[in-house]
């Protein structure tokens, strides 16, 4: 518990908000952060452009011997070769606050920060992954109030904010700020994992939350593993992530696609399907600043090109079945031996654990968010697999958020824009210092009404 002596500023009194609200969707890969315009004079809707994307890591380059902290990575680094990463968020939760503090300070407090604020004059709205261990929730509260000294604080699970973002379904009118969509099943395909959260008026049915332990990082690590069959990329986390984003897709017919690119050996006369196989030109950060891919050319010798013979000097990796066998893990985790059902079945685990009368509203309102849902073919495959698994008596409707990465932030910003709703949710620093951490957590869990 904080001692009163540590109080250096007059805290916001019981029921007043600080002038500004900072919304922080604190993802394992990136922080999505920005101010809601709620308490400013302009009465504008929060805009996706108000949301900054900040790398949530410390990155160390062996080349320039520099450590990039948070936003510096995307703003100042130009050579992503052999970058090593330290991520304070593990499995979706801030575990290492030493690292997170350095990143937050650089992002929100430092003189150079684009989102510079005075925490004493700022309300903080913070997201966490579902099913958080309580000790980590306590750590977050103590850091927010005792270390950063924010004026007030509201923490909730990230998926819940999607209910406050504009509806992705054309027939559902966008609700006013602070008013949630009635029924929404949020599928968040994140960096650490993929979560399924049924929301009723923005509140989760806790006992039906499910998590599939495949996320963007699993796919990047898996791609790295399979690419090392042909090229040395063991230390190239960043480059492999870019390759993944550039070339991976979700197959609509896995068996047929894998046949199309199989070549059983050098003597096999079959022609592989070049509409799938690509040559990826790796960046060397001299001539090639950013990797790119082009149609596979069987006449090009990788070795000759690497030596600068027979064309421009370039490092090529040929990618075939890896384009879809890696991303396939989201749908078939058993391909790496993981004992969890794929995403469509995990969604149905969640829905079928609810009373049957709720199945239809959730089956018809499935919202997909998260950076790893951006693979080509993702939505088509998800919808067709769900359709084939669910009785035809039910309507199945799946939609992707306009911006799958920033949708949680946008929902949080729209919630915070409604001052009455925000006031109801936050705990002020004074309340925290009076009532303590357990009380604060119980407030956020909705157990103590204001």
């Amino acid at each position: 518990m904080a001692s009163k002596q540590s109080l250096t500023q007059p805290p916001a009194s019981g029921n007043t908000l600080a002038p500004r609200t900072l919304i922080v969707d604190n993802g394992a890969h990136t922080i999505k952060a920005g101010f809601s315009s709620a308490t400013t004079e302009t009465n504008q809707e929060p805009n996706l452009d108000d949301c900054q994307i900040i790398a949530n890591c410390l990155a160390r380059s062996t080349r320039d011997k520099r450590t990039y902290v948070g936003p510096e990575l995307l703003d100042e680094c130009w050579d992503f070769g052999e970058l090593a990463f330290r991520r304070p968020v593990e499995r979706g939760f801030v575990v290492n606050w030493e690292g997170e503090k350095a990143i937050w300070e650089r992002s929100f407090v430092d003189g150079r920060a684009k989102l510079k604020c005075d925490p004493h004059e700022t309300n903080l709205v913070l997201t966490e992954s579902p099913n958080a261990p309580a000790a980590l929730q306590r750590n977050a509260g103590e850091m927010v109030f005792e270390e950063f000294e924010f004026a007030s604080y509201y923490r909730t699970m990230a998926p819940a904010f999607n209910a406050y973002a504009p509806s992705p379904f054309p027939s559902t009118a966008t609700s006013a700020s602070g008013v949630p969509i009635e029924c929404l099943l949020v599928v968040d395909v994140g960096h650490s994992h993929t979560t399924v959260t049924p929301l009723y008026q923005g509140r989760p049915f806790h006992s039906s939350c499910r998590r599939l332990e495949i996320g963007g990082k699993t796919l990047t690590n898996r791609l790295k593993e399979v690419l090392t069959r042909t090229v040395e990329v063991q230390k190239e986390d960043w480059i492999v992530q870019e390759i993944k984003e550039d070339v991976c897709f979700i197959s609509q017919d896995f068996n047929s696609d894998i046949e199309r690119v199989w070549k059983g050996g050098l003597k096999d006369p079959r022609e592989i399907d070049t509409s799938i196989v690509v040559d990826y030109v790796l960046p060397d950060y001299e001539a090639v600043k950013r990797g790119f891919f082009r149609e596979h050319d069987p006449k090009i010798s990788r070795k000759a090109r690497a030596l600068g013979l027979d064309g421009p000097r370039e490092h090529i990796v040929t990618i075939g079945n890896e384009r879809f066998t890696v991303s396939e893990l989201l749908f078939t985790p058993s391909d790496i031996g993981m004992q969890q059902e794929g995403l469509p079945a995990t969604i149905l685990q969640s829905i079928y654990s609810l009373p049957q009368g709720l199945w239809q509203p959730f089956l018809a309102n499935i919202l997909v968010v998260g950076g790893s849902s951006k693979f080509a073919g993702f939505m088509g495959r998800l919808e067709s697999e769900l359709r084939s698994r669910v009785s035809e008596d039910y309507i199945v409707r799946v939609a992707q958020a306009q911006d799958p990465v920033k949708n949680v932030w946008l929902g949080g910003a729209r919630l915070a824009q409604n001052e009455d709703v925000l006031k109801e949710r936050v705990v002020t620093r004074q309340e925290y210092l009076e009532h303590g951490d357990l009380w604060t957590r119980r407030r956020f869990a909705g157990k103590i009404a204001r």
Partner: protein, 278 residues
């Protein structure tokens, strides 16, 4: 084996389902060295196992050790694939150039000093919480008993809910027992939502009180929320060639790795075989 077409011309070829998708049942060829008396009789697993055992001359205990080893290897690999940080790298926080308030580690209060100096990983926090729940039935001073008990209670009322017992392990594999297939896919008659026909409990929205009660249930623990394993009647996992990524058709009897063709098998033998029994 080194000559000729790369499709295996082995004495017997079995067809095994390799996909879980109901729409597109694909098949992989699995080469089995033993001569079959009658291929149609050789479909079942027992015959296949016998055929394999005959081919390799491995004893049962050797096979068990191999599969236990493979299981551990799989779990280790999944942990590695899900790891967040670059391997074997320490990245210290850079020193502040000027101002900015205190050293990186300082900490303004006893609490935050402790948090900032903590070297705990997520696995530590998870173990701590599971241990506390096992000891007290509650989590971190909360008033509510954790849902394990609630779940069991509910499970009888709601057979369709695929609920899973708490696990102590933080491993990615879920050793939870499967629920019968009937709980996996609801029977179609139960799913009839035609409002004209019969609007009993099956399709109508639960009462507001019921919804409120459900909303007020405490969160599942991290382990409880993990997606359940596929049902027991799901097709077996697909296997892939560890050299080229195509479907794996032949298992290396020394290390258990799969390959698709003579080419890939040669590559495996030359460069990659881990030779647990060599």
């Amino acid at each position: 084996m080194a000559t000729g077409p790369l499709r295996f011309r082995t004495p017997h070829i079995e067809e095994l389902p390799i996909t879980q998708s109901r729409q597109a049942p694909g098949f992989a060829w699995v080469a089995v060295a033993a001569p079959p008396e009658d291929p149609s009789k050789n479909w079942g697993t027992s015959n296949r196992k016998r055929a394999r055992a005959a081919a390799t001359g491995q004893t049962d205990s050797q096979k068990e050790a191999l599969s236990a080893r493979q299981q551990r290897e799989t779990e280790r690999k999944i942990r590695e694939l899900n790891s967040d940080n670059s391997k074997d790298v320490q990245i210290p926080i850079p020193k502040k150039e000027a101002g900015g308030g205190g050293g990186a580690r300082a900490g303004k209060t006893t609490n935050t000093k402790k948090i900032l100096a903590s070297g705990k990983t997520f696995a530590h926090y998870l173990d701590d919480e599971e241990a506390e729940i096992a000891r007290t039935g509650r989590r971190d001073g909360e008033a509510e008993v954790v849902p394990a008990a609630v779940q069991q209670q509910r499970a009888s009322k709601t057979p369709l809910a695929r609920r899973r017992p708490r696990e102590e392990s933080s491993m990615s594999g879920s050793p939870a027992p499967f629920k019968p297939a009937s709980s996996y896919a609801p029977p179609s008659d139960a799913m009839d939502i035609d409002p004209g026909e019969d609007d009993d409990v099956v399709a109508s929205m639960p009462s507001q009180a019921n919804i409120e009660a459900l909303l007020n249930m405490p969160p599942l623990t991290y382990n409880q929320a993990r997606s359940a394993p596929p049902p027991t009647n799901a097709p077996p996992p697909r296997k892939f060639c560890e050299v080229c990524g195509y479907f794996g058709r032949v298992k290396c009897m020394k290390c258990g790795a799969m390959t698709c063709s003579v080419m890939c098998k040669d590559t495996h033998d030359d460069q990659r075989c881990q030779k647990f029994y060599a």
